[in-house]
Subunit: 526 residues, 2 copies
Amino acid sequence: MISWKNLDELKAFEALKAAKRVDLVSVMSGESGARRVAEYRVPMAEGLVYSYAAKAVDGDLLQALKALAEEAQLADKYEQLLNGEVINTGEKRLVLHQLTRGQQAGDVIADGVNKREFYVAQQEKAAAFARKVHAGEILNEAGEKFTTVVQIGIGGSDLGPRAMYLALEQWAKRSGCQKMEARFISNVDPDDAAGVLKGIDAARALFVLVSKSGTTLETLTNESFVKDALGKAGLDSSKHMVAVTSETSPLASSSDYLEAFFMDDYIGGRYSSTSCVGGVILSLAFGPEVFARFLNGAAAADALAKEPDPLKNAAMLDALIGVYERNVLGYPTTAVLPYSQALSRFPAHLQQLDMESNGKSVNRFGEPVNYATGPVIFGEPGTNGQHSFYQLLHQGTDITPLQFVGFRQNQTGMDVNIQGSTSQQKLCANVAAQIMAFACGKKDDNPNKTFAGGRPSSIITGDQLTPETLGALLAHFENKVMFQGFCWNINSFDQEGVQLGKVLAKRVLAHDTDGALKAYSDLLEI
Amino acid sequence: MISWKNLDELKAFEALKAAKRVDLVSVMSGESGARRVAEYRVPMAEGLVYSYAAKAVDGDLLQALKALAEEAQLADKYEQLLNGEVINTGEKRLVLHQLTRGQQAGDVIADGVNKREFYVAQQEKAAAFARKVHAGEILNEAGEKFTTVVQIGIGGSDLGPRAMYLALEQWAKRSGCQKMEARFISNVDPDDAAGVLKGIDAARALFVLVSKSGTTLETLTNESFVKDALGKAGLDSSKHMVAVTSETSPLASSSDYLEAFFMDDYIGGRYSSTSCVGGVILSLAFGPEVFARFLNGAAAADALAKEPDPLKNAAMLDALIGVYERNVLGYPTTAVLPYSQALSRFPAHLQQLDMESNGKSVNRFGEPVNYATGPVIFGEPGTNGQHSFYQLLHQGTDITPLQFVGFRQNQTGMDVNIQGSTSQQKLCANVAAQIMAFACGKKDDNPNKTFAGGRPSSIITGDQLTPETLGALLAHFENKVMFQGFCWNINSFDQEGVQLGKVLAKRVLAHDTDGALKAYSDLLEI
């Protein structure tokens, strides 16, 4: 029997608060530190490893976290989600993004449809379309092959697919499976679309219009912008556009598009990279086989997330440690720091995934909660961040928990050996060094050169960033965010906080304003 | 007589803490809100306006902030900096980045050199070089013109120049002054350099190697990577590279470079966009005249920052309100939200500028401080962020102060009118709407649809993002950060927090490790 309780109603949370704190400087020093690195790790999917030695936990705290996982029924709640319960209570919807990449529970029938079959059919449609484009069976008006694919979408229709494309672009080029270049238009600022169009040959570009509702202001505006530009170039936009939308949207059966691919209300935008929202562009860019491998990685991570023991379930443990840091230690932010240039926009995706899911002040029943929920998430790739904001992370007055990611091999296979080491070795040496510098710090007679340490981090390591490991990494964080939402007893799958701004913006455009809103509109001469 | 006191030693700070809090929902509603928007603004340089109506201040609080500015001697300390005092106490250095864009005080003579003349001479050298490249007087081995310029640098040698390039790229293309495309290599991850090189014609590329010390690991490694690639392509790297460095660096007189341009220890990396660090690449990309206009904008902002009354000095007021939010209201983060796609990497630059400058725990004398210093800074352009992390900003459990930026006109002049408004109008309508949604919120019977409001923001507005307004914007934030450092009595111009990681990384690469550091090195197979 599932019981949805607030975090502060759980006995295990009281016990967690009462548990003795761990002195990270002490436990990570000397042989104790080496033992922790050997022991405090959980195998993830696709050969990845979650290592949490540099988190401020010990055996007692881990037991307290395990008790919290049990009392909060994390595994049972995930099972309910997989079985098609109405987990998104705000919008009274199922939450089915895991179904886009593999069946982790029984069939889910909703609205009279087997949802797994529906998602698979759409993926197959996308694959077939991509193969025709690659084979030259779908051509532009001049009978030429398409060379570029441009996604028009915003939020989850942009950040995830963009981050995934960038994550695999160099890998695909080296592997010989890059089929088309991809670009992205998202901002309603017309200079975004104008800049992208300047940089491509529009005559040989396919545009993927992504809007679940078919009513997203930015996306429809950018569609018009692109159609306008295509028209001025003498091109027939209906020969250059496909739509990704819901079956009930106005875009679904329009003759404006070469083809339409469907998703539904059970897949939130920020969880949609493994649906057709990511599938159409990634299949066009890299081929459907690569997209399928990406889904396999995500499915493997979803399967492991069912394990009820958090010490064997990286996503669950990651979530629990995060709750401890947020609600017991009181840290307001978390930094995501991938030591991989290919993951340059992965932090921006996680920023949406986490902050939009868990930035809530009411529980799933709409009652205010009395504790902190989702933290602010930010990050940039290392080593770049080291030369930027790490100063504050090391010596600032607040503590920021850190999430590192690192791979033993790079993607392009190109490297140079300078001063006895390769660039890839230097990259890895830096992340290892940073973990220890943050954890243990350094005493110095000069207080300005002193590092207090005690700054917790975890690292996810793997051999290489590939379609499979990227899928596993993506699903790890999705599942982590889900488990944290369960702990906080919030609905991680709606986003009511985006509505008010939309309503007011419409009023501004309709000149239906007064007071300060009118004054700001005047200031901006709207 | 300047007195360097900690914030909590100032009477004005005690008074600020005791001042009555402002209820933002109340004061921003109705006619009161409209009055505030009309009154609570400060003219900035180049036609920009700093509007702080939606900050939680009122007449009494503004007087308290003014008293704080006086007691903390903010204007006097800036004057000292301009006069060449040793403001960077940690490294015992002058702070002279303002001198790169105009003389705001008397001559500064250091090391026997008139520093203004020195910086100007380097800028003229960069301008002359750029003109020769543009005129075809400097050509590649095959006698062809260079078409692309690639900056190799990291941290301040990357983030600022990259953000400035992106900020002006579309403007320059439309204005007909784009001379060369620019690219950037920063990360020691070899896939960064490999990816950039794949995307350009190296035979027609000029590389700008930027390292003040001439010893930055990432930059020298990437230089080797590029030289290796040029060599394999049968190209003579010494015909493709210039250096930006200090006169005492090993790069200064090397025959490996076509030319060397100099900066010095009085310009910190994160303050170096207006020195040759930004000057060489921006002059090559857009022409020296555009770079000069950018400097003029910064100089105009520097001049206004001398005003001692914070109600007439936007940088100072912005700084003071930030201190109030950080040290009285207790907010740990600040979001930077430019409604301009051209400013896509401006938040990443400000993240370094602010967090590396003010993420400190000791005062300028090396004594620990008992109050919070620099906040975590993060951000993405609007409207993109609205569909991402704004959910947490609106309805999360913590409050994040917001810094908006918006322009009345876009850069490319391309736009479409859809449903009665242009994209640019939609962009501006959204930022106006967001300010009000954050400030006033909205009551609703459904708590899940309730917005508490009370979330403070300011906005900087202007007609258009141009070289001048960009310079003014950049200098505004530099000067804001400086004034906050003065308030906190910290040294905003060193970065000792980056050193420990460097030392440990070297030990990893030398296999001189034990304990957990060795264990992490083994995990990553270094």
